[in-house]
């Protein structure tokens, strides 16, 4: 039963969405299924929060290596959740002044805004910015012209790196108009539009075919791996 009902729901949902694409009569069915999906996606946040608590509480309980990070995670999670859901420190909106919770949780100057502005924003921006350092280090150590393919990749990388800045214009700016196609900024566009697009389209078509076949296997109940290894 634990496997049959999810299989049934999956098959119905999948076939309704397929039918919705091919017939105007069934189009509204697909819209209803999409709304169900959005409701489920919202509920998935609760599941995600519960899972996060479970994993990190277990780490703390077992005193596994780095358990202190789990403490920080749980404190940050709970503090943000309580402040955000409770709209702590938020004033009622001008439209509905009689309702205490009518204000926006993102109100400027409020505790949730403070967390976003002074903790979340700089932390995530810092993480992303650090990529530049690691990419430079990796490029120095790993980007080697070991064979023809690597040489082609290296050459393309140089052209793109130069062509995406003013250096490209500066290096090949002297070329006459009839050779403008060889200017680095134009070569960059050609690489992206022709070679990159051709390769990506081939990959995308392959992926699409793979998704279609895998989806059919799931909808027909042939592939049940997504249900996990629980008992029937």
């Amino acid at each position: 039963m634990k496997r049959t009902i999810p299989l049934f729901i999956t098959a119905i949902g999948g076939f309704v969405l397929i039918a919705a694409v091919f017939s105007g009569y069934t189009q509204s069915w697909g819209e209803v299924a999409a709304i169900w999906f959005d409701v489920l996606a919202a509920i998935a946040y609760i599941l995600g929060g519960g899972n996060l608590m479970k994993i990190h509480l277990k780490k703390i309980s077992d005193r596994t290596e780095g358990w202190a990070y789990s403490v920080v995670t749980i404190i940050a999670f709970l503090a943000t959740l309580i402040i955000g859901l409770g709209k702590i420190g938020v004033n009622p909106s001008e439209q509905f002044p009689d309702y205490a919770w009518s204000g926006s949780y993102r109100e400027v100057g409020g505790p949730f805004w403070w967390i976003y502005e002074y903790a979340f924003k700089p932390l995530t921006a810092t993480m992303f910015a650090m990529l530049a350092f690691y990419v430079a280090s990796a490029a120095f150590r790993a980007f080697r012209a070991k064979n023809l393919e690597a040489v082609l990749l290296l050459g393309t990388a140089f052209i793109i790196l130069l062509g995406r800045t003013y250096a490209g214009v500066w290096v090949t700016g002297w070329l006459p108009d009839w050779l403008s196609g060889l200017k680095l900024e134009n070569v960059t566009v050609t690489i992206m539009k022709v070679f990159n697009t051709a390769g990506n389209r081939a990959i995308m078509i392959g992926i699409a075919l793979g998704i279609a076949s895998t989806s059919l296997r799931v909808l027909l109940g042939v592939d049940r791996s997504y249900l996990g290894g629980g008992e029937e």
Partner: protein
């Protein structure tokens, strides 16, 4: 020297990268001068998609990114809002990412409220906020907004917002503008909005890593694309060329300021992309230099091993 590079500690590389980015930022900040931009056809396509629409057109702006990619995407998000406001289009802001509404708030605060105080919330622009469901949201609002958006972010009912009364679904929009940092983003808008409803027109701005994956959709499903800071800088060059007088700093008498070359001195927030191209140039040159040095070491070592 050879031995130094052969055993180069990665902390030296980190320091070099730090200087490669920091020094140009300081120089550009002090002098106010940076490199010129020559817009490509894709940036021009984005510009004309907004510019050629008649005044008062309905534009849906979906800001699907977060602070992690704000450095790369906020200049184009700012410029999209400015361009639409300058053309007096009606702007419907929304987000598929949980912190997208904050990105929208920043844009409204920095661009619309400061430089277009005459625009009225609800009549000229509206913030619809975030809904969970990623591409599921697109699939629903492509046929009916009110199935998901019963209010805006302020809690105002959909039916009482003047500019919302004129639209029932995404299909009523004259243009879709998407700023995307990944999933859900431009690819999903193309797949679930533009592909099934080909009458829709869409332009986008995305991160550098996403751009190669989106080229296959140009120009049928995606009319124009701004790739990373370079794309934003090109778009800024086009918008400032067109609206420079309005975007320029003002002197004591309120007249737009011009530099020695007779060019308008554009306010900093509208040249973020162009200014960030300076650090990008030096960082790219450093990367190329590091790759060349790394390969020289590799070939020298290989030759030495061959002799043995």
């Amino acid at each position: 020297m050879y031995e130094f590079f052969k055993t180069l500690d990665r902390r030296w590389i980190f320091l070099m990268m730090f200087l490669a980015v920091a020094v140009p930022i300081l120089i550009i900040g002090a002098t106010g001068r940076t490199f010129p931009e020559e817009p490509t056809s894709l940036a021009r396509a984005v510009f004309h998609a907004i510019e050629d629409l008649p005044e008062g057109s309905k534009v849906l702006l979906s800001y699907d990114y977060d602070p992690a990619s704000e450095g790369e995407l906020s200049p184009m998000a700012t410029m999209f809002a400015y361009h639409c406001a300058a053309k007096r289009h009606r702007m419907y802001f929304m987000a598929l990412w949980p912190v997208g509404p904050q990105m929208v708030d920043d844009t409204i605060e920095n661009v619309l409220k400061k430089d277009f105080p005459e625009l009225e919330y609800g009549k000229d622009y509206v913030n619809l906020g975030y809904k969970s469901g990623y591409e599921g949201v697109i699939k629903v609002i492509i046929t009916d907004f009110t199935e998901l958006y019963t209010t805006d972010t302020r809690g105002t009912p959909w039916g009482t917002i003047p500019m919302c009364q004129e639209v029932s679904s995404v299909q009523d929009m004259d243009l879709l503008v998407n700023v995307s940092a990944g999933y859900a983003g431009t690819k999903e808008w193309v797949q679930y909005a533009v592909t099934p409803y080909p009458k829709l027109t869409m332009v986008a701005g995305c991160t550098g890593v996403q751009a190669p994956l989106l080229y296959p959709y140009i120009p049928q499903q995606l009319q124009g694309l701004l790739g990373a800071i370079k794309g934003a800088a090109e778009y800024e060059a086009l918008v400032t060329e067109c609206y420079g007088a309005r975007m320029a700093r003002r002197d004591a008498e309120g007249n737009p300021m011009v530099d020695d070359d007779g060019m308008y001195v554009i306010r900093g927030k509208y040249t973020e992309g162009i200014r960030r191209m300076g650090p990008q140039l030096v960082a790219h040159l450093l990367m190329i230099l590091l790759i060349i040095v790394g390969n020289v070491i590799y070939f020298v070592e290989r030759r030495k091993e061959g002799r043995r």
